[in-house]
Subunit: 448 residues, 2 copies
């Protein structure tokens, strides 16, 4: 077989890069579990009628067909899921009788979309979703909860760039438009959502031409969208525009509560900002909406989005309202690895290579390794009984910090050259050496 | 939407069942990392020419096609991988210049096969593979190593039934057949591999009719296949059959070494047995072969298989020999959940529900929860300020053992009813209560 080449849109990682992704996933899972979210997985496939309920994504679905299947329609009409929300809504309906509500779940899985690959957009990608689902009702404090959980998680990802979580509320926007007397609030919202791609004058013209509002109304619509604040001062800024509507009041109260409730979690790495231009397009959100920008990667768009949906799922008799956020793990990790050389301090979990004096004495080296593993220290035994200099090179090439010499009963830190007497029943490396650490290549090079 | 129904062959787990699967996966990963194996993932798809290299599985491949794609051939000829070996061989060739050999990797991922579903056989399933790959050569001690790693892992899965790891060596079989003067050793091996499904007389008749050996030779072929021992006494049993061949000697030496080297790891839960009937069919193995039976589930066949392949991958110039074992995670977990009610002590990670006295005082409950989480104790705040009796019921329904009353500064173990004064900055639950524990439903019911 000749050397295979990568498939565009299906990124794969080297072992030391996978350490970065795995650490992101582990940190997310740890945080979600601390907050009482249950981890589930759903199957990779859904019936096509489920996948195509939102018509606008239909082009991106991968259909499945068995190689020797007669039907050209695909295997019983199934395709790969393109997000984790559609499968989760189906899972809730299917298992409603066995779940306890409110149901907090996290789900970290791959999804697939057949769209054109670009930076941060892949055909196969990993997402990390959290949602809280109620039966019939779900109090607003859960909107605060999911926000706080995700901010907590992002704060813990301290090897990533800064995050800017932008929050808004569709009640606020729709109430404001209704107060202005706008007839088709959805159409206005759709056009305003283009503000991150088009200049304000162009959006203004579209509002007049396509949504049929007068120029003065379009001015006020755009004024609302320019309001942004890291605290609840946005409330006064909206009031100063002189529009009144009960739904607007409800939205202002909710968004104000959300921003105030997150104030204690805000750090130099994670900001929470009320940004009244955020609307999440044509999605099914009905209240709180989230988008998140990664500092230095704003052109990728939102890498962590979500919101409140008053009817995530319904079986006709019961409605399940929910609120959730989805972090694009691949969207964040893959471009960072490519652009900044984010990697790990070593290519293997091993903290120690136990040297082998001769093939006959390999069991003695195994015994040292066994004693270290029994105390949770990852290690490997050298592959062959070469000269010790070569066994040290073996460790170096993998970034393994320690080599153990069983014949001498000593362990060497090959970075400093320090070699000390050591007992495998008691010796422990410094905590930072126990597992591979995430670093950027430049830092790693400096260390060496 | 009406209530959705499950898709046959695509098993999904309830949150408390997912705890079981997650614990299996976590234990495997922890063990593999302790032994220095690097975790990687490969993309879910491979080019069809890769997937169809082994013609006999071609019927099972799922092809991908984008919904609006013109070509009926599928998207650029890609399909879902049906195991983790084919993708790994491709990954090694693609990244050979960036990997260090011998390369130890583990890979825990889903795979898909469009075959007819039955117990232990699914269309979507999770596998856990370990392999060690060399460049040009790979010493036999790595065969011992992968065996010991998997036995270590199985020993740690102490909530599962007992495992019986059956090992053999194809050099031993082929050498024995060659010493007997058998011309087509592969054909004899293929027929002998049917011994677990057909009676010995039938296999004997097939050996004579299809492989063209005489009755006396067929007798001796079957005699070899009946030999089985938990120690290296099988060597004398083979020698007693009076066949001689250099390849047979090599196989006997390797298999003897393997069984002796695993003796210290054998427990009442994990046996390692030399079983000379094991041949792994028509696979690409060239030396050591493994199969594993799960006690009480022998009808499912082998749930953990593998072996040595002298050419896992080759780019024409360089050959990459390897040795590996693959554990069928879904094959083990899903039937056990269905048959024995294997589950977790609770449906959520939370060890504690912090009660809410009134909606106004929710931040005080949040503060208690925050203090507990800061010390690694998973918890959740009650969803509403109901009467405490209802909040206790909320915890009970989820299996959460503790309820914290912030107004009283007390925590109650709702199983025993014991309630004590507690400080969220210092209180810690017993270690067994910190995370959900895996139990069978009957045990869980007894506890309650």
């Amino acid at each position: 077989m000749s050397k295979p080449t990568p498939l565009s849109g299906f990124p794969e990682l080297l072992p030391e890069q996978r350490v970065v992704e795995q650490q992101v996933i582990d940190t997310l899972r740890h945080t979600f579990e601390l907050h009482g979210f249950a981890g589930i997985e759903t199957r990779a496939v859904e019936p096509l009628d489920q996948l195509l309920r939102k018509g606008d994504t239909s082009k991106e679905v991968y259909l499945l067909r068995r190689l020797h299947e007669e039907s050209a329609e695909g295997h019983a009409g199934i395709g790969l899921h393109f997000d984790l929300t559609v499968p989760f809504a189906r899972y809730v309906l299917e298992n409603a009788g066995k779940l306890e509500f409110p149901f907090r779940r996290f789900q970290i899985q791959k999804a697939w979309r057949g769209e054109r690959p670009q930076e941060g957009r892949y055909r196969e990608f990993t997402q990390a979703d959290i949602d809280i689902i109620g039966r019939d009702e779900l109090p607003f404090h859960h909107d605060v909860e999911v926000t706080r959980v995700m901010v907590d998680a992002l704060n813990r990802l301290d090897f990533l760039p800064a995050f800017r979580l932008q929050v808004n509320n569709r009640k606020l926007i729709q109430g404001f438009y209704a107060g202005l007397g706008v007839a088709d609030t959805d159409e206005v919202m759709r056009i305003v959502d283009k503000l991150d791609k088009l200049p304000a004058e162009k959006v203004h013209a579209m509002l007049v031409a396509e949504a049929g509002v007068d120029a003065a109304t379009a001015d006020r619509v755009l004024s609302l969208a320019t309001i942004s604040a890291a605290d609840d001062s946005f409330v006064d800024a909206v009031r100063a525009l002189g529009v009144e509507h009960p739904l607007l009041e409800e939205g202002l109260a909710e968004l104000g509560q959300l921003v105030r409730a997150c104030a204690d979690l805000v750090s130099d790495r994670v900001q929470v900002v009320a940004d009244l231009s955020i609307a999440r397009g044509l999605d099914y959100y009905t209240g709180t909406v989230f988008e998140t920008r990664l500092e230095g990667y704003e052109s990728m768009g939102s890498i962590c989005s979500g919101g409140r949906y008053d009817a995530l799922a319904s079986d006709g008799r019961t409605t399940y309202p929910g609120v959730g956020i989805s972090l694009g793990v691949s969207r964040v990790v893959v471009p960072l690895i490519a652009r900044t050389g984010l990697t790990a301090t070593r290519k293997v979990p091993s903290a120690v290579v136990v040297a082998v004096v001769s093939e006959e004495s390999r069991p003695e080296s195994e015994a040292v390794a066994g004693a270290l593993r029994a105390r949770g220290i990852p290690c490997e035994v050298a592959a062959s009984a070469q000269k010790f200099g070569k066994q040290i090179r073996y460790a170096e090439r993998r970034g393994i910090p320690y080599v153990w010499f069983p014949d001498q009963g000593e362990v060497k830190d090959i970075r400093s050259g320090d070699q000390v007497l050591a007992d495998p029943a008691t010796w422990t490396p410094p905590i930072d050496d126990l597992r591979p650490q995430v670093v950027t290549s430049s830092i790693e090079e400096k260390k060496q």
